[in-house]
C-alpha cells in the first residue's frame, strides 16, 4: 500500500483536489487553444500563450512563472540559480521577458516585415495615427477611477494601442503582474478587429462618408509631387524617423529604434540580407515561441481569477472602441475644414493592428462601393498608428517607471 500511496503522491491529482481552481485555468487554456487553432485568432501568439497557460497550471509540473517578491528575491538570483530553484520556464521568463528583451527583438522583426511605401506615398494620412491613440489615455483615466494605480491603469490602457509587442513591453515595465491578461486581451482584440471596427463604423459613420472615394479625391485635388527615388527614400526614412522619435520621446527608443533598424536592414537590400533573415526569421520566430510560452506561464489561478482580469478584458475592449472612434472623429473634423475629403475609415485604421485593420476598412469601403479601394491609403495611418502607440508607451514609461 505504501507503493500505491507513493504513486498517488507522485501524480497531480492530490494537488488538483486541494487547488481545484487550476482546473478552470486548464479549461481557459483549452478555450484559448480553440480560439487560436479553429478560430484562427492570432495563432502565432495565442497558441503558444495558451500552451504556456496549460504547462503552468499542471500541478507539480513546475512550469508556472513565480512573481518576484521581497522574500524570494528572484530577480536578484543568477539565471542558473533561477533554473535550479524554479525551473526552466522561470529562467526563460526572467531572462527574456522580465528584462524587457523580447518585445524590442520582435519589433525588429516587425520592422523588417514593414513596408513604409504606402505611408510615404500618402504621408499626410499618417497624421491620423495620432488621434487613434486616445483610447489608451481614456481607459487609463477610467481605470484609475476603478481603483487601479497609475502604473496598472497605464498598462491596461496601452491595450488600446492595438500592438502586441508595445502592450507587452509596457506591461513588463509598469505592471508585470498583469502581463498575462493584458497580452491575451491585446492579441484577442486584434484578432477581433474584423468585428470591432465594423461595429464602431456602423454607429459613427454615414453611408456617404463610407463612400468617400480617396482616388477620386486625389484626381480632384492632385498631389503636387511624385516620389522620384523610392529606394533611397525608403533607406533614409527609417534613419530620419528614428532620430526624430528618439529626440522627442527618448524612452520609446528600445521599441522604435529596433523597429527601424529592422526596417533599415530590409530596405538596404542584398548587402544586408543576412541581417534581414536574422531579424525577420531567426530572431523573430524564436522570440515569438519564448514570448508566447512564458507570457502564458505567468497566468496561474490565484493571479488570473480576480476581478482585475475582468476589468482588463472590459477596459481593453473599450480602449479599442474609443481609439477607433477617435480616429474616425479626427477625420470628420478634418473634413469640416478641408475641401479634399478623407474617408473616415482612414482615421479608424490609425488604431494600428497592422495590416488587419486596413483590410477590414477596405472591405467595408468595397461593400458600399465596389470601386472604392482604400487599402493603400489605410495602410498609411495604420502603420503610423504603430509609431503612435510606441510613442504613447514611451511617454507612459517615462513618467511612471
Amino acid at each position: 500500500m505504501d507503493i500505491l500511496q507513493k504513486l498517488f503522491e507522485m501524480t497531480a491529482f492530490g494537488e488538483l483536489i486541494s487547488n481545484p481552481l487550476s482546473i478552470l485555468m486548464l479549461l481557459l487554456a483549452f478555450v484559448l487553444l480553440y480560439l487560436g487553432i479553429a478560430k484562427k485568432f492570432e495563432p502565432l501568439l495565442l497558441i503558444p500563450i495558451a500552451f504556456g497557460v496549460l504547462l503552468a497550471n499542471f500541478p507539480g509540473g513546475g512550469m508556472a512563472v513565480i512573481p518576484d517578491t521581497e522574500i524570494n528575491q528572484i530577480s536578484h538570483k543568477t539565471i542558473i540559480e533561477i533554473a535550479k530553484d524554479h525551473g526552466i520556464m522561470n529562467m526563460l521568463y526572467y531572462m527574456l521577458i522580465k528584462t524587457g528583451l523580447l518585445p524590442p527583438l520582435i519589433f525588429m522583426g516587425v520592422g523588417a516585415l514593414t513596408d513604409f511605401g504606402p505611408m510615404l506615398r500618402n504621408l499626410r494620412l499618417a497624421f491620423f495615427g495620432a488621434a487613434a491613440q486616445i483610447g489608451i489615455f481614456t481607459v487609463l483615466i477610467g481605470a484609475t477611477l476603478l481603483g487601479f494605480n497609475l502604473k496598472e491603469a497605464a498598462a491596461l490602457g496601452i491595450i488600446g494601442g492595438a500592438d502586441g509587442p508595445t502592450a507587452i513591453y509596457t506591461a513588463i515595465k509598469l505592471a508585470p503582474h498583469l502581463l498575462g491578461p493584458i497580452a491575451i486581451a491585446a492579441y484577442s482584440y486584434m484578432a477581433l478587429v474584423p468585428v470591432i471596427i465594423p461595429m464602431v463604423v456602423k454607429v459613427m459613420m454615414s453611408e456617404k462618408e463610407i463612400k468617400i472615394n480617396m482616388k477620386e479625391q486625389d484626381k480632384l485635388y492632385p498631389h503636387k509631387r511624385e516620389i522620384k527615388n523610392m529606394k533611397a527614400l525608403k533607406i533614409v526614412f527609417p534613419i530620419v524617423l528614428g532620430t526624430v522619435v528618439a529626440l522627442l520621446v527618448p524612452s520609446s527608443v528600445p521599441l522604435v529604434g529596433f523597429l527601424l533598424f529592422g526596417n533599415l536592414v530590409k530596405e538596404v537590400g542584398s548587402d544586408t540580407n543576412r541581417l534581414f533573415t536574422a531579424a525577420s526569421e531567426t530572431i523573430m520566430n524564436t522570440a515569438t515561441i519564448f514570448l508566447g510560452l512564458t507570457v502564458g506561464a505567468t497566468m496561474s489561478a490565484d493571479t488570473f481569477l480576480e476581478s482585475q482580469t475582468l476589468y482588463i478584458v472590459l477596459g481593453g475592449f473599450l480602449a479599442f472602441v474609443i481609439s477607433i472612434a477617435g480616429g474616425i472623429t479626427a477625420a470628420k473634423v478634418y473634413n469640416v475644414f478641408n475641401k479634399k475629403k478623407i474617408n473616415p475609415l482612414i482615421g479608424a485604421t490609425g488604431l494600428s493592428a497592422v495590416p488587419m485593420a486596413s483590410r477590414v476598412a477596405n472591405d467595408i469601403a468595397l461593400k458600399y462601393d465596389s470601386k472604392n479601394h482604400i487599402l493603400q491609403y489605410a495602410m498609411s495611418s495604420n502603420i503610423s498608428g504603430v509609431i503612435g502607440s510606441a510613442v504613447a508607451a514611451g511617454v507612459l514609461i517615462s513618467f511612471l517607471s
Binding site: 523588417a112 489608451i136 481614456t138 538596404v268
Partner: protein, 85 residues
C-alpha cells in the same frame, strides 16, 4: 485618489500632445526628405534589390522558372511572384 486622477489627466494631455507632435514632425520631416531626395538624388544610385519578405527565390531561379513556365504553357503562362507558403 484625486491626485491619481489629476495625474492621469496630465498624462493624457502630455501623451496626446507628444503623439501629435511626433507624427506632425514625421509628416513634415518626411515631406522635406522627399523634396530633398527628389531634388538631389532623383535617380537611384545604389543597388536596386530590396529584401522582400515574400521573395523565396533568387532572380536567377526566377528567370529559369519563368522560362520553364513560358515553355510549358506555350508562351501563355507567366509567374509574377513566388511567395513563401
Amino acid at each position: 485618489m484625486e491626485s491619481t486622477l489629476s495625474n492621469a489627466l496630465i498624462l493624457m494631455v502630455i501623451g496626446m500632445i507628444s503623439v501629435f507632435i511626433v507624427l506632425l514632425v514625421v509628416v513634415m520631416g518626411g515631406s522635406i526628405l522627399i523634396n530633398f531626395i527628389n531634388k538631389y538624388y532623383p535617380e537611384s544610385v545604389i543597388s536596386q534589390v530590396s529584401n522582400s519578405k515574400d521573395s523565396l527565390v533568387s532572380p536567377k531561379i526566377m528567370a529559369v522558372l519563368t522560362a520553364a513556365v513560358l515553355q510549358a504553357t506555350g508562351g501563355k503562362g507567366h509567374i509574377d511572384e513566388v511567395l513563401k507558403k
